[in-house]
Each structure stands twice: as C-alpha cells, then as structure tokens.
C-alpha cells in the first residue's frame, strides 16, 4: 500500500449527500479482475453523456460539462470534499480503487459508510470526518476561491486552510500507523498466527460442528 503522511492538494467539491458506490463506479466496471485502471470511469454516469462500457477508450467520450470534475479549475484535484454518508451502498473496493486511480488521496465528508471507510484505509486513501459546520465553510471557500488548496497532515491530524485556519480530525491509531508506514495488515496479523491457531483448536474442541 502507498504510504500517506502529508499532502497539499487541490480540492474538488462534490456537493451531494449519500454519494453511493454505484455512483462512484458503476457495476459494469466491476467485471474487471484487476485492481487498477478504474480512474477513467470514476463517477462514470455523472461524468459522461453516454453509457460507458468496460475496456473503452474514454478520452473521446462526450463529457458532461456541468459535472464538477470536468471543470478545468478542478483538474488535478487530490482532495474530494463531500457531504453526509459518503460511500454508502455496496462493499465494492473498486470504489476506493477508482478514486485512488483518478488521483484522490483524501476524502473530506460529514460522515462515511462503514465498509467504504475501512476499504479506503486498505488502499492508501484517507477518509476524514469533519463537523458539518466545517464542511459547509469549506464548500463556501472552494466555490469562491479558484485553485483552493488544503494541507492534510496525518501525523498532526489536521486539515489546514490557506489562511492558517486549522481543523483537527480524529483517526484510529492503528489505521493511522498502517497508513503512515504503508503497512500490509495481513503481515501484521500473521504475527499473531500462534494465537489464531490456539483459538482455532479450542473452538474445534468446544464447537466441532463449526469445522465440519
């Protein structure tokens, strides 16, 4: 997993509640057996005027000029700003894969759906929960400030505005450490292989029907 520590990045606003994983990456792209290449189809139905197909060259497709990521001022954005319940819906990890492949490393929202939230951490994407008033203020700032950037510092657990206004955020210590070090959590878990084995043997003796 790619490490994450500090990022100064352009912010793109996606002003909607309940952005679901079907919107982030529509189902036809889930047929892929790879982990990469989903970026061109991120938000496919909102981003293009036609219906996308897997394996297609997206550069020539008609774009929806009203969709925020198609606006020149947000080209190269690496921080996505949205509202409540971001990432709700299916467990598809293709959603964080697509966001990452497009170039987003941070998502700021008022709340996230649980599975999406944990999928992000497994892929080097940092989802940050901020209070509603801060989210609202950020939307206002982004709208009126071309080239609006934020600095996200995971070690310090802060989001810093250009004027120095600093918003602290909470993050689970274990996930933070994994992300900063780019650790693979399977390797970490396997340090406890003996304990897992012991647990398993005890259960096998107590509840053998689970191991039929």
């Amino acid at each position: 997993m790619e490490k994450f520590n500090r990022l100064e990045g352009l912010v793109a606003p996606l002003d909607r509640v309940n952005v679901d994983t079907d919107a982030i990456i529509p189902k036809q792209f889930l047929k892929s057996i790879k982990r990469s290449g989903f970026g061109p189809n991120l938000f496919d139905e909102w981003r293009y005027m036609d219906v996308g197909q897997p394996g297609q060259d997206c550069s020539a497709r008609p774009k929806n000029p009203n969709f925020v990521l198609n606006q020149e001022r947000y080209r190269g954005a690496s921080i996505l700003l949205s509202r409540k319940n971001f990432g709700c819906g299916s467990s598809r990890e293709h959603a964080p894969w697509a966001l990452l492949d497009y170039g987003f490393r941070v998502i700021l929202a008022e709340s996230f759906a649980d599975i999406f939230f944990s999928n992000c951490f497994k892929n080097g994407v940092l989802p940050i929960v901020l209070p509603a008033n801060e989210i609202e203020a950020l939307f206002q700032l982004v709208n009126v400030t071309p080239g609006f950037k934020l600095t996200v510092d995971l070690s310090a657990q802060t989001v810093v505005c250009p004027d120095g206004h600093t918003i602290p955020f909470a993050v689970d210590p274990f996930r933070k450490e994994c992300l900063i070090n780019g650790w693979d959590d399977i390797g970490l878990t396997l340090r406890h292989a003996d304990k897992i084995g012991e647990y398993e043997e005890r259960r096998r003796a107590e509840q053998p029907w689970l191991f039929a």
């Binding site: 909607r16 509640v17 309940n18 679901d20 079907d22 919107a23 529509p26 189902k27 036809q28 889930l30 047929k31 892929s32 057996i33 790879k34 982990r35 139905e45 219906v51 897997p54 394996g55 509202r83 409540k84 319940n85 709700c88 819906g89 299916s90 467990s91 598809r92 990890e93 964080p96 709340s111 996230f112 759906a113 649980d114 599975i115 944990s118 999928n119 497994k122 892929n123 689970d172 210590p173 274990f174 693979d184 959590d185 399977i186 878990t189 396997l190 406890h192 292989a193 304990k195 897992i196 647990y199 398993e200 259960r203 509840q207 053998p208 029907w209 689970l210 191991f211 039929a212």
Partner: protein
Amino acid sequence: MANNLYEKLWQSHVVHEESDGTALIYIDRHLVHEVTSPQAFEGLKLAGRKPWRVSSIVATADHNTPTNHWDRGIEDPVSRLQVETLDANIRETGALAYFPFKDRRQGVIHVIGPENGATLPGMTVVCGDSHTSTHGAFGCMALGIGTSEVEHVMATQCLLQKKSKTLLVRVDGALGKGVSAKDIALAVIGRIGTAGGTGYAIEFGGSAIRALSMEGRMTLCNMAIEAGARMGFVAVDDVTINYLKGRPFAPTGAQWDAAVAYWRTLHSDEGARFDRVVELRGADIRPQVTWGTSPEMVVSINDTVPDPAKESDPVRREAIERALQYMGLNPNMPISSIKVDKIFIGSCTNSRIEDLRAAATVLKGRRIAANVKLALAVPGSGLVKEQAEREGLDRIFIDAGFEWRMPGCSMCLAMNADRLEPGERCASTSNRNFEGRQGAGSRTHLVSPAMAAAAAVAGHFADVRELL
C-alpha cells in the same frame, strides 16, 4: 452481567485485542462470489500465501450469470472471464462447497448459504458483499467486507474490527394483512435514515420480529446495511432451530444436540443494555414504496410524493429536488398514480420461496397490465426454483404474463443482460434504488413481493391490501 447478543457474539470471537480496541476476530464462514474475489486470490498468490482454512469457504457465481438461455453459456466475454476466474481459483484452492454456474444448487450467495445450512447461529460470517448482513437472521455476526479484507480473511482466518455500538430496533404487535418483513425494513430505514445505523450493530427484536419466519428475518437483516449498519441480527429461537434441522451442512446426532444447547444462549439477556433503542408498532406499518434514489426516501402506498418546498433544510431540499428530477416525479402526486414499465421479483432480499408465494397469491387468476413491458420472476437459487415449480407457482407467474427465469442476482444490479433502459420505471423487490442501479438512467421503486405483484396487475403502484 446482562449481555446483549452482540456482546456475546463479539466476545466469543476475539482472538487478540490491541490497546486501542482494534481486535482480531476469528471468522467461521467465508462466502465467496465472482465479483469481489479475483483480486483477493491474486493478491494471495502474489504474496506467496496459502489460505488458512479452505473448509470455511462456500462459493457460487451469481452476479454475472445470465437468467435465461443457459445452454448458450455466458455470452458477455468480460463476465465470462470473471466467472471462469472464480472456477479456476476454487479449483486450485478448494472449498467446503462450490455451486458454480449451471449447478443445481447455484444461486444468490445469501440465499444458498442459509438454505444449505452453511450459515449457523453463533458464527461469524463474512462475504465480499454488503448484503452479508442477511445471515444475521440466524443470530450470527455477519459482515460485508471489501476485497482487501477478503484476502485478509483467506490468509489469516481473521478480520480486524473495532467493536460497534448497539442499536435495538424493537417492533411490537401484529403486522397488518399484506404487510411483510420488507415493509418493516423500509419503515425502519424511513425512520432512522440510511446513515442512522452507521457505527451500530442492529438487533431486531420485539413480538413482530419473533413472529417472522426465517425468510422474513433474512429480508429484514438484508436491509440493515441500507440503514447504514454493517450488521443486523435476530436472536435464536425455535423458528431458527426448526429451520436448520436437516439442512446439508447443519450438524446431526449428538453434535446437533450440543449445538442447539449453545444456540439457545444466543439472545440478549434480560436487562441487557443498548446504546440506542428505536421502537415501532407493527400495526402502524403500511405497505411501503420508495419514491427517490435512496432507500430512506420512502413513504407508504397511501401517501404522496414529498414536496421539496415544504423542506426547510437546504441540503435535504436539494436532495429531494434532485431525486424527483431523476425519478421523473412531481411533488404531491399520489404514490398510487405512478405508472410502472417493468417488474422485478428477485434478489437476496426477496427471492425465497415465501416471497414467490406472496407474489403468486396476488397474481393468481390475474394478468399483468398492458403498460407493463416486462415482468421478471427470478428465484434466488436452483433449489428455490425447484420448490416453486413443485408448488405450481411457475405456472401462476407465467399465466399472469411474467417471465420465469433461472436464479441469479439479475436485475438487482444489472451486471448481466437483465436491466432497465434509461428512464424506465421498475417496481423492484431488491434493496437499492440508487441512480443507475438497475441500468444507466433506471428508475427503481423498492417494494415487497406482494406490492410488486400488485403493481404488475394494476400497471401502477397499488395497495395490495385491496387485492387480498
């Protein structure tokens, strides 16, 4: 100390706990399907890791498989490759059971696990699929996980988890005629919202839940994820135990007796505490219909489409406006005046035998309306289909003008050929009405099987209670 069911399930599965509360939870059952597993198998191979306990794995191909012309195989080459990749991975790795495309017992993963007795009370059950919450109906801790977690479970038989908060949803009193578990699920989501259960494990309790069959409880727990909860469950009782007896992977003989004795402890103790309690009265729940693009956008059949002008919160107002525009609806129109183009009866929410019976009861001796272009009945598994055919339900569907299809996820997410055209409106027994869910530009209204049948007959949403 009085424990609630979640605490019991949690405590019995903790292998190791970090100082910050992150725990390694042992996984008893790993359900696998073709869409979220290929990258996990590949990751395992690339890292040179072996699966920890293949006998925990039960797999099937369901999302991409066609529901007709099985003799032609899977015609879409991209879908075919994904299904063949699962075939190859399972062949190489092994599994307790694999129900591949065309197998007699193939079907939607959340239907075949329980019907084969592969989901047992007290288990931890995971699947790379959010609707894994379905299995909580058996008093399980059942979690949907992402592909990295699928790989993690394969490699370590464990999942990293933090303890959830607990929410008790209590529904007391009898349900009215024509009101089903699906209506309870939608009414709960309407009450608490799609983020209302975020961070919580939901226990469904109360006399209305106790009165539900196992299939009804599965429908309810299936939708827990749409309320934002990663899991939902119901305590074990006689209904659970009677359902399991004699299923292929359920224990037998002395082990059955030992298992039952343990399962009987799987309920919240008298006086157990919950972080939050929500109460509904069964008698107040009317047949539900969603009108928008999120399952929380739901009203009863007797209501009207909401008016954004009456909403004071600007973010909510805009969400309503956007949903109405996408759905092609006007504020204040009666739900019963909304005409439908297609009907879908199926999905892991409502494709079991009782769902088909409920729809057939409404359809018997009736025909789908002239404006309904297509009505699909898609059983959840090969075994459900066989049972329905033994009961003659297939004839009722066909005589009413439905197409009687082979099992699979089908139009629930439209990864195969079953989908809506842009702008088409569907009465669907599935679980998600998101934009584009049933095909680009599709318009989905979530309803119960009986309500889907009523809409098929009327050509518009209709109160099924008047047809019974």
